[in-house]
Amino acid sequence: MSDTQNLTLVQAVRDGLKGELERDDDVVVFGEDVGKNGGVFRATQGLYEEFGEERVFDTPLAESGIVGTAVGMAAYGMKPVPEMQFSGFAYPGFDQIVSHAARLRTRSRSRFSVPMTLRMPYGGGIRAPEHHSESKEAFYAHEAGLKVVVPSTPHDTKGLLAAAIRDPDPVVFMEPKLIYRAFREEVPDESYTVELGEATTRREGDDVSLFTWGAMTRPSMAAAENLAGEIDVEVIDLRTLSPMDWDSIVESFKKTGRAVVVHEAPKSGGLGAEIATTIQEEALGYQRAPVQRVTGFDTPFPLYALEDYYMPEAARIEDGIREAVEF
């Protein structure tokens, strides 16, 4: 039996990076403050000391430059793992992400690929200033050629990060910073992967299927537990948002006939809409109630005095579950 450590999610990020840096010389980690400082969230702590400046380095403060150089490095055959300090600051790099990282394989008829893993902390609830709280996974999931991964536990974080870094295509790896240090979990010391594109069932149930990811997994589980004995909620953590595990979604829905999608991103144009539509396309005959979406509002993310109203908390999620069940 291999040894384990009891790690937080952000420590699992660090452990995952360390494992891949050890495993593959082509892996390099870079971004703003990721070197000596160890990252503003400490996600790269100690890696600069351990692997040296060639492998773990600070860059100028320039997101397009960071992603753009990563595209060049990846095309050359390296495995760059750049960091966007916050997802809200990734937009200067957005053109490089969608116009190049996502398209270089197509453009070169697969001569070049971009095996880049672009890490970015996302999401609200941390009492931060403006632009530090958004959830924009739908932007990236909308783009052909990108994969989008959002872990929700330390164990998955390490395994999904390793899988993302080893993947031959670009992966936007969105880290739920709200739960960076919320809880600990036993994480194996040795390297392992959690396969991309596979959802996992966090809680089995027969009455209603709840689909969620990232930081929303915890309040969703809390809501399910609060309703236990009354409503039997199945909680599915999607983990990879592109490509989505449609089989698991449809299979669960066929069992329950009712669905709730929980995401902190705004409702309109969010991935909840994609899930609801797919359920209708694939399993209309099983449907017993409208699909409920418990989401952020279609407003800019508020400053923190109001953020608890914006974020789906357990009570709102319970309300959505009841709507689905009592239809």
Binding site: T59, A62, M73, P80, P92, D95, Q96, R109, R111, G197
Partner: protein, 379 residues
């Protein structure tokens, strides 16, 4: 065909220390050698190849515009007027060096080994024209300046792999206003990458003139802000371009000590034609201006120089013209013989492994094709 000269032909790297507000020139407009200039030490055969390639690029360009007008090709960005900068710079590279182009570097890419039919196919809407097999040419980048950070990143990766390849990144004057110009050159300077940042200043970014892109006296002087050398060269003088670029390539490959490896070259030139075939330059510029620049044309300029040296005469020029026309005509025939790419290829190059949903979408299109036939489906 590639040249792979490698050596700078005795070019002194010190040419790069020219004040970035001055303009390096070797040939005067009449083809005579400018006083004090050094003619690159190239063989007769190489001079002729340089001349032929520029002439071929001009003829190719005229045929390509004509193909577009006849509906045989899509939107195409012409390069006439810019042959000296493209051919002169690309000839300074070794085969193992890289070109990181924008979308107008048909002649530079040809020098580095890309076939004419490859270029034609891309502009005929067939992505296979962008698969450049074993050539060290990056695919065309359409969003302005966005390839500049790639060139810096490629150089960082080459360093990491202890390679001595050099990366020649092309962009236009308009690109120097983009954030990616700044970020790319800044990374190039900070990480001291083996990159030549080559600005084809053709005076016009579609309809916006050079003086509205920047209040700086020259684009070359922007290099100072990135800690690297900047140099301005007459971009319609292929010998000056070759000389300056060779020095920059040499420096990128082997600079030592305090000297940074990247260089910013501003090649001052003119786009005779439209930005693309979808553009009408008569809306924003006067014919007089075009005529003024045509007096600097790189092709008669090098021709006069070579005739004066007894390397070219009427007979040789006629032979070259015939062989160029034949080569371009053959390339067009070959490009037009290609059948449309399969619809499958639209799906198969998105990811290394095709996700289930893409597979379903491909099957759906297959079904529509087989049920309705292409003719009905695409009506």
């Amino acid at each position: 065909m590639t040249f792979g000269y490698g050596s700078t032909g005795g070019t002194a790297v010190s040419v790069l220390e020219t004040d970035p507000r001055e303009k390096v020139q070797v040939l005067a407009e009449d083809g005579s050698v400018v006083e004090g200039a050094t003619v690159p030490d190239l063989s007769e055969e190489t001079f002729v190849e340089m001349y032929r390639t520029m002439k071929l690029a001009r003829h190719f360009d005229e045929r390509a515009v004509s193909l577009q007008r006849q509906g045989r090709m899509g939107t195409y960005p012409p390069l006439s007027g810019q042959e000296g900068a493209q051919v002169g710079s690309a000839m300074a590279l070794r085969d193992e060096d890289w070109i990181v182009p924008s979308y107008r570097e048909h002649a530079a890419s040809y020098v580095h080994g890309l076939t004419l039919e490859g270029t034609l196919r891309y502009w005929m809407g067939d992505e296979r024209g962008n698969r450049l097999e074993d050539l060290n040419i990056f695919p065309v980048a359409v969003p302005i300046a966005s390839q500049i950070p790639h060139a810096a990143g490629l150089g960082m990766a080459a360093d990491y792999n202890d390679s001595d390849e050099v990366f020649m990144c092309y962009f236009g004057d308009g690109a120097t206003s983009e954030g990616d110009f700044h970020e790319g050159l800044n990374f190039g300077g900070v990480f001291d990458t083996p990159t030549v940042f080559f600005c084809n200043n053709n005076q016009w970014a579609i309809s916006v003139p050079r003086e509205k892109q920047t209040a700086a006296e020259t684009i070359a002087q922007k290099a100072v802000a990135y800690g690297m050398e900047g140099i301005q060269v007459d971009g319609m003088d292929p010998l000056a371009v070759y000389q300056v670029t060779s020095a920059a390539v040499e420096r990128a490959r082997s600079a030592e000590g305090e000297q940074l490896r990247p260089t910013l070259i501003e090649a001052v030139q003119y786009r005779y034609g439209a930005h693309t075939t979808a553009d009408d330059p008569s809306v924003y510029r006067e014919d007089d201006e075009v005529e003024k620049w045509k007096a600097k044309d790189p092709i008669p300029r090098l021709e006069a120089f070579l005739r004066d040296r007894g390397v070219l005469d009427d007979e040789r020029v006629a032979e070259l013209t015939d062989s160029i026309e034949e080569e371009v005509a053959e390339a067009i025939d070959t490009a037009e013989e290609y059948t449309r790419p399969t619809t499958e290829s639209m799906f198969e190059h998105v990811y290394a492994g095709m996700p289930e949903r893409l597979r379903q979408q491909q099957a759906y299109l297959d079904r529509l094709q087989s049920e309705h036939g292409d003719e009905e489906l695409l009506e």
